[in-house]
Symmetry: C2
Subunit: 341 residues, 2 copies
Amino acid sequence: MNLKQLSELLGLSQTTVSRALNGYPEVNEATRERVLQAVKETGYRPNKAAQRLATGKAGSIGLVMPTAPGHQSDVHFGEFLAGLGEEAVRHDFHFVIMPADPDDEVAALRRLAISGNVDALFVAYMRGHDPRLAMLKSLSMPYVVHGRSFGSEPDYPYLDIDNEGAFYDATRLLLQLGHTRFALMNGPMHLDFAIRRKNGVISALAERGLVLDEGCMSHALMTDEQGLLAMEHFLQLPERPTAILCSSTVLALGAIRAVNQAGLRLGEDISLIAHDDVLPLLKPESFSVPLTTTRSSLRAAGVRIAQRLIGTVKQAGPFPDQELWKTELIVRASTGPVPRA
Amino acid sequence: MNLKQLSELLGLSQTTVSRALNGYPEVNEATRERVLQAVKETGYRPNKAAQRLATGKAGSIGLVMPTAPGHQSDVHFGEFLAGLGEEAVRHDFHFVIMPADPDDEVAALRRLAISGNVDALFVAYMRGHDPRLAMLKSLSMPYVVHGRSFGSEPDYPYLDIDNEGAFYDATRLLLQLGHTRFALMNGPMHLDFAIRRKNGVISALAERGLVLDEGCMSHALMTDEQGLLAMEHFLQLPERPTAILCSSTVLALGAIRAVNQAGLRLGEDISLIAHDDVLPLLKPESFSVPLTTTRSSLRAAGVRIAQRLIGTVKQAGPFPDQELWKTELIVRASTGPVPRA
DNA sequence: AAGAAATTTCAAAGCGCTTTGACAGCCAAC
DNA sequence: GTTGGCTGTCAAAGCGCTTTGAAATTTCTT
């Protein structure tokens, strides 16, 4: 069933039917009703490819998924996607996911853009001095970045959470509890959020004249195993840290196991604050010692970015170009006063 | 730059240029060279939308992502996607992801199929008597199902793991260790894999004249929290089970916490076997008590399904229609002989 | 050397939709 | 009773590509 057949069935021209369907005003309401009714009965669906050819709009958002043999998938990606999806489904948008080797992202992005398959781009896993920004700016296609790129002029549309502020606040809380020996369990070093979180910790410590030793920092994929390894390392340091900042609840999982295995008590011997992306997978409140966290929903960010992207494509009003979300600091049982030496 | 301009530039017809580009034999080699050269110089890229409208081929695989406000994302989805992506990137294919409310999947699938945006479909999260099968069969579009649909004639292309066999084997191992009180911590009841795993357990038990009590079964989303709750429930039963079968390492995570909190020792007081999808997130060998698991890589399944789907679209040789992968049973420390009463 | 066959190229017809510009039909205004 | 402005509808022209069927050119037969 296509437009032509449908219009013949109704005894109308294709023009009228098309207009009725797309909400143009110059169509009699009675006619529109008839058309809508016929669509329901016949199950007619416009062919997207044709629509796209005619309008130049694709009704879809493109994103590059970093993947390669041997490249580990990241839980956070799925959760973010769920957020994007939640919003997209409301607007009958979909995603075109172009899988690409992480080393080939710039080219992949370009291919995606000129393929004509998408009318907006979304980019995540931002790095310091991210080369994709220049590429995005050169394209004449709307885009929104999740995160920012440390070291680049912030003149691009983004949605980010205040990573620095989050870790600054968390560090301050621990300082107030009397801690002086800190460690930071971070995500991969080149990623923007990792850089900013580190800066947050460092600047809070600096206010008290403290510094974060290189040995008290780990940069790794955010998995359970890496959390375990990093914490084991910290616990073996001569000056064992008593306060741990942790970039993900997933890392915290492994870290806590290391704490337990060492016979130490979380919230007493060791205080830990983790960043919580609100993954359904893992709730910090149901840990055996409920976790103090900095919280910001990754999924909500996905929803918002989809809103902005779709809104821009549909020309639905202006959106703020740059949003920086504050995180919440939620105190639970994994933090306590520094133990007496 | 479009075909017309390019052909004018070359003094050829659009036909000839198009054929030269698409490798048709009826083009003089010298002419083809000239065309290819011009493409390089001008950076011409065929418009995908037009190509698609003309050919009906889209170079992409469609899949429906279950999502809705309040619908929790599932870690396993991301990992599977990584596998699909790993293969797709080799063939310059991409995905079109249509987010859809889980209640609306059949319709979403149909929309995706007739949108002309994809030329093959992939379906997961199979249920018993899954209504999507009839829909898929009625479409004339290649598809592959991940999993199977219990209760439906198995006459559709699928890739599944031997869930029943896996849990049968796991149960047998525990029986051999002398266990007689079992519990099963399963995924959502309506899902096919959950049904088969349950059957595997039941039939192994039946061979020893044992039955699985209703109270010793839980069906829930596979998250840490649900694992904790289910295990807490099991531990409070008057006849406390000593052998636990668990549908995911994520569930096991919470379950083990409950065991620890109850002051019991894993592998001694309680034996546990979990199914391991080989998530990078969570390695069973690095649990504090390394986990005995039934193992099958979800990501590998993704790769294989992408292979079949893309191969079919490209008409690259026949593929087996139905594949059933065996799982491995890997014994680690979370299983041990039944404790003396 | 003329006709048949094979090779190379082309004009034009779609693919299914949107959008432009025109045209009836109708009512109010001068 | 002509002019002008609205409404609702339509025919036709794209959008950029592939593909059909025919024409032009070259090569092979006899």
